[in-house]
Symmetry: C2
Subunit: 168 residues, 2 copies
């Protein structure tokens, strides 16, 4: 029933316009992994994991990153991001990106990157925001706590929906 999210819901939850969601899907940035659009009238179905990705994109945009850079960062993210999202730190710099799990490691990377611009994002916070938004936008029944569990599971069970990314 509610393991998936419609396009509109997804947009609401992560705080973007439908137009953005649509554009990102078409241009291969974040596609619904449960059900892609198959023409006019069909329906996209976003997974919880997709919401996380959408939220990361939005967060990056809000912080002043160009969409182009976000695309490049994501080609890296998809390969290296496992289930343990909350504890990871994402660092992007131009076209490159790095994932860091440990705080000390993070500091190390920062010091090494002298002179080079570095963009940093704590993924744990992103996940929390999405969870909160889902609960807030819940139509009553889910407020019963059902979905408060599902997200935790979703990140563990999520297989990797691989789509053909066309170049970058």
């Amino acid at each position: 029933m509610s393991e998936h999210f419609s396009g509109k819901k997804a947009a609401e939850i992560v705080g973007i316009t439908y137009r953005q969601l649509d554009y990102w899907a078409r241009t291969d940035l974040v596609r619904p992994s449960l059900a892609d659009a198959t023409g006019s009238g069909s329906r996209r179905r976003y997974s919880y994991r997709d919401l996380l990705e959408l939220k990361v994109v939005k967060t990056l945009l809000d912080s002043g990153i160009k969409l182009e850079s976000v695309r490049e960062a994501f080609s890296y993210l998809r390969d290296h991001l496992g289930e343990d999202i909350a504890s990871a730190q994402l660092i992007i710099s131009g076209g490159s990106a790095i994932l860091v799990r440990d705080d000390d490691e993070l500091i190390d990377v920062l010091k090494r990157g002298q002179g080079v611009m570095t963009n940093l994002l704590s993924l744990g916070g992103v996940q929390k925001e999405v969870d909160d938004a889902i609960v807030h936008l819940r139509p009553a029944d889910a407020a019963a706590g059902k979905l408060a569990v599902a997200p935790a599971k979703a990140q563990k069970a999520a297989p990797r929906p691989r789509r053909a990314a066309s170049g970058g």
Copy 2:
């Protein structure tokens, strides 16, 4: 003779197109502080300090930051950036920006910013790059070391030389 830089030279040194330099000057992002344009045929004169600002902008752009965010960051930078450029770390996040001088302070800020995107730049490296570029593009006479002094002064005038620009 060489305390200032023409528009074209400035663009060369920092590695941007003249069109960008022109656009940025017109739109009030980085203006030549020694002599602004007063109409067609006039000449802009950039100071060394201006070069640093230009280079910071370019570095931010290269790292994937939107020009709009750069503008906002600079309105903060101009107020708070003193002489001690080399030891400062610039952190921007969307519209806000922070300057950090100390490494521990930096780490503190990063941890505090859980979930919020953070963009980080070490200004010391930027200065070094500019200095190198100036030397490399020198037409002989300046290679005599005249200008190698002026930049050095800028960073030495600082009250506390915390971290030398050697790292990078």
